[in-house]
Subunit: 274 residues, 3 copies
Amino acid sequence: MNQTHFETINIAGVLENIRSSSPLIHHITNTVTINDCANITLALGGSPVMADSPEEAGEMASFAGALVINMGTLHPSAISSMIKAGTRAREIGKPVVFDPVGAGATQFRQSTAKEILRNVRPTIIKGNAAEIKFLAGEVSNQRGVDSLDSNADQAALALARSSGSIVAATGAIDTVTDGKLLYKISGGSPMLSRITGTGCMTSSLVGCFSSVMASPLFAAILGVLTMKLAGEKAQIALKPGQGSGQFRINLFDAISLLTPSDYVWEERITYVTL
Amino acid sequence: MNQTHFETINIAGVLENIRSSSPLIHHITNTVTINDCANITLALGGSPVMADSPEEAGEMASFAGALVINMGTLHPSAISSMIKAGTRAREIGKPVVFDPVGAGATQFRQSTAKEILRNVRPTIIKGNAAEIKFLAGEVSNQRGVDSLDSNADQAALALARSSGSIVAATGAIDTVTDGKLLYKISGGSPMLSRITGTGCMTSSLVGCFSSVMASPLFAAILGVLTMKLAGEKAQIALKPGQGSGQFRINLFDAISLLTPSDYVWEERITYVTL
Amino acid sequence: MNQTHFETINIAGVLENIRSSSPLIHHITNTVTINDCANITLALGGSPVMADSPEEAGEMASFAGALVINMGTLHPSAISSMIKAGTRAREIGKPVVFDPVGAGATQFRQSTAKEILRNVRPTIIKGNAAEIKFLAGEVSNQRGVDSLDSNADQAALALARSSGSIVAATGAIDTVTDGKLLYKISGGSPMLSRITGTGCMTSSLVGCFSSVMASPLFAAILGVLTMKLAGEKAQIALKPGQGSGQFRINLFDAISLLTPSDYVWEERITYVTL
């Protein structure tokens, strides 16, 4: 398969594969959006497990189809779990998705993000523009866990090349690259940034796709694309007088009702010649 | 009251009792569904409190109408809290509901589940088929926190007899037994397994019922039955284009609007002659 | 501005200020309602960050527009974070909102609430009647984290005077005072007590307002008033067959769609001559 021709992916087969095999997606994640991540995994057809204690994280990872590490609310014991589970998943050839939430925002997050990169060597790194810029060694514009940066193409490329990971930098337009090929994914809804957890849930979607696809590059693209498509549907389904509360419910509805015909590649994905 | 005749329960009185006395339901539970458990307790009419620190768990339990222990996300400090609070609740004669989430999935969960059984001697154990089979010493088929097992009647009976607890094994059809009498509860919706937390919330409902009913066996039956009835209503209320997000909202709606006439015993509960 | 004339506040300017500047609201809060607090902050236009680890709490607070400390689920490491972040925020002149959830319910909460008062000296204390009475040294009627008390005017005044903080005591009618001026805020919906988190979310709203307003007294009034107004809208939007689940969604909708014309001072706020 020519990787520049994304439309050759058998999306019907991928969705059916997730729903029929219900891959176990092991999360070590934050307490803010942990419920959202579990529900979005279930909505897509996966089976979430959120075991984050060092006493069991490594063992649980050995049963998983993919591991999602998210440092939204960071504690020393969770870092230990992330490294144990991440190392174990990599040893047995399972994909690891790393969401470096707020990397760069504090010294604790800076050192932890680098420690995880170095020790786990994640299959896929999914962050916002500021997080990816920080990890790439660029000057980033971070405030709390939100990015004030936009275009992160150069940072994503540099990070993919230095880390060996697939890198997805999300924003109004997402960038996904393996360091050689680079794709831009457009679409979505401005409402996606009016609720918490859409970034974390995107990592869960990427985890689901990566557990059943041979190409982590395409799994990352499908993950960020799926969130954008669901965001569009969730916004369209809003009625007058409905706001961010109902948008959030519509988002879960949209993911749980996805069909292959929802995936309109041509309008959403652009391959960028480097 | 002949316990084989479930229809003699005064469900109107039980619901009214919960709503008017608003029993304090102390939870020591996981971070994934803790918000769901609090909201379902409120929806039924109870008053949730989620104090899970060893510094106060025992003292808080002494004020509660029932204690719910759930090991979904398991940490050493929470285990200490579970045992302190569980011991205290049992000393003062308050019911303890134990939800052994993922028991059997990892060595940490295996040893913790047994430690809690041994030290707390819960009034009611509510788990899925695989969890109940593991606790009964049978070979179980566990993956993450999900069960791949179905019929757990024999395991439920064995566990009830060895532990002295009421045992509720949930699934497409639930089994509830005290080791002498055994009931099967049918109904519900396949959507209940498409969202996280329905198992945990069932334990919260069992906790609410157990706090106002003399029979923990009947409280367990009412708890699992109530989730099945609400699941049916939540599914019926779904409109075209709505999926797992709205189903979850409908579930809270259904619990908050329960009336005695919703309880149709004949079609849902079967007494099994052993 | 005469502070007894609340209607002189430029509510349009305040709402616009929050939405355009998107102030970072740092929360150190409980695991039950942490997702709700993040979503309500976003719905109003703020930017939530929930970093609660002692390793970074102080540093994160230095970037924030306001800090919200909530002791709903209390752990020793979080207490250390609360004091570090609270001290830092006060040093740099940022408002600190303290929600003493369950203060008085256990010895651990009693001593922690007092420790935070003494060490942080919060800008605003927002609690229910029982919590405020406990902090004021009165006999309080606390059960779990719920208040069985009603009128807390005298306690709120006494606490404001002894602590130097603005005090908001919430209930069917809210009391807000700086020890010299006292306001009563009415309205709302009985449904607000049928879901978890409305108290915690009120503190988040107070945090947002305090980050952009010169007067913490008026920020506290606007915070509690906004929750009451949203509760009214959420209830009115309920359709037959909808209960506490949909009410909760409507509440987020209402906050995300607030307009200046929603603020009807005359009917809701009463200035009480002391």
